[in-house]
């Protein structure tokens, strides 16, 4: 009976692995997002700022008002460092995220009809949509309100924001673990969540030096994809992409690739080529590995 149980567990393990392999379809979203990122420099070249007659330069896109508070929902997708229209590039990244998400969902649905297994796409949708909403609503709103209160965008302010985030995470984790109905626990939980929101908003805002916040949203979606697919390879691609996205947003890659930059288009290409390459290479490797395992 015991040996029979071991054999049965082995067989079930093989069935589980086979089902996971057959449901893997993440190569297409990786390639799609990689290509869409690579197309961005063309748009940046065409989206140069033209100063309107009223003198207001469109750097951060349109301003939105909620309860008397003004903020720029597309501000993570653009930067004052590049002479591009905030509205044009903001809408581009918004389009990349939304269209990419819809194509990904349609792809998995179409693939399910062909292969016979459909993964839990709701997990991916939760990550991708959640990431987008966080980056266009609370992050610009909270960071816009508090960035000056926390000391601006210098190194000390960045450390303070990270400290607020860490304290918030620790406080939330400690208070969420307990089961008592103690009032202090609930107060601690609320304070912890508020600190996490403030810390996340400021850290994201500060990590967005070059205005490629769209990469963060795509990264959150790919993490969700890796979780949904239970794929180690997709997980590795997600981690590499997060690293490449941070590099693109924080480091002037044109210093390494082009030397003296000649245009906004060149700067953008130099910064975005690494994250795009990670996704395109990851997609090709996943496609090849999937075909080999089916042969």
């Amino acid at each position: 009976m015991d040996t029979e149980a071991a054999v049965l567990l082995d067989d079930l393990g093989r069935l589980r692995n086979r089902t996971r392999q057959d449901s893997h379809g993440y190569w297409l979203p990786l390639l799609l997002f990689g290509v869409l990122i690579l197309v961005a420099p063309v748009l940046y070249g065409a989206a140069g700022i033209t100063v309107p007659t009223n003198g207001n330069i469109d750097v951060y896109g349109p301003e939105l008002h909620i309860g008397g508070l003004g903020f720029y929902p597309l501000s993570l997708f653009t930067s004052f460092q590049l002479d591009v229209s905030g509205l044009a590039v903001g809408l581009y990244w918004l389009g990349v995220v939304v269209v990419g998400m819809l194509v990904t969902l349609a792809w998995y649905r179409w693939r399910a009809l062909r292969v016979g297994v459909q993964p839990r796409t709701g997990t991916y949708l939760l990550y991708a949509l959640g990431g987008l909403l966080v980056c266009v609503l609370p992050v610009p709103l909270v960071a816009g309100l508090l960035i000056d209160a926390l000391g601006g965008s210098d190194k000390a302010s960045a450390l303070l924001s990270v400290a607020v985030l860490v304290v918030g995470i620790v406080l939330t984790a400690l208070c969420a673990r307990g089961r008592s109905r103690n009032v202090m626990r609930w107060i601690g939980l609320v304070v912890g969540i508020v600190l996490v929101l403030i810390g996340t908003s400021d850290v994201t805002f500060l990590a967005n030096t070059h205005g490629y916040g769209g990469l963060f949203v795509i990264a959150i979606g790919i993490v969700g994809l890796a979780w949904m697919e239970r794929s180690r390879l997709c997980g590795v691609v997600a981690v590499l992409f997060v690293a490449a996205a941070l590099l693109a947003d924080l480091y002037d890659m044109e210093n390494v690739l082009s030397g003296y930059p000649v245009s906004t288009q060149t700067i953008t290409f130099d910064n975005l080529v690494l994250p795009a390459a990670v996704l395109i290479v990851g997609g090709i490797v996943a496609l090849t590995a999937g075909r080999r395992s089916r042969q």
Binding site: A5, A6, L8, L12, T19, D22
Partner: protein
């Protein structure tokens, strides 16, 4: 009352093919009848009977529909099915662990 792991095995779930159906369904949002038949090397009639047993036990939901003119049957595991599968897997692992620890086996 025996504390032997076999006491936790459920006759409905423990049957090899039914366990296979639940395992595959637990990995997906939904799985198609044809995929299950091919993966488990079963005839359509056999698979249909196993699915009916699991559906009647309230462990699976079955949805019938069309893809164009082609009829399709989709199988989806529900929360009771996930719980039953987890319990069965735990019992099987306990049996294997028992085999690996001779002291405990000797006592019984």
């Amino acid at each position: 009352m025996s504390d032997h792991p076999t006491a936790d095995l459920d006759d409905v779930v423990h049957q090899r093919h039914r366990l296979g159906i639940l395992t595959i369904a637990a990995e997906t949002k939904r799985v198609e009848f044809g995929y299950l038949r091919e993966a488990l090397s079963l005839t359509a009639g056999n698979l249909s009977r196993h699915i009916s047993v699991l559906e009647e036990a309230g462990l699976l939901d079955v949805h019938k529909g069309y893809d164009g003119k082609r009829p399709r049957t989709w199988v989806q595991i529900n929360d009771s099915g996930k719980a039953a599968l987890a319990k069965e897997m735990a019992a099987l692992r306990a049996l294997v662990t028992r085999q690996d620890s001779p002291d405990q086996t000797a006592v019984d």
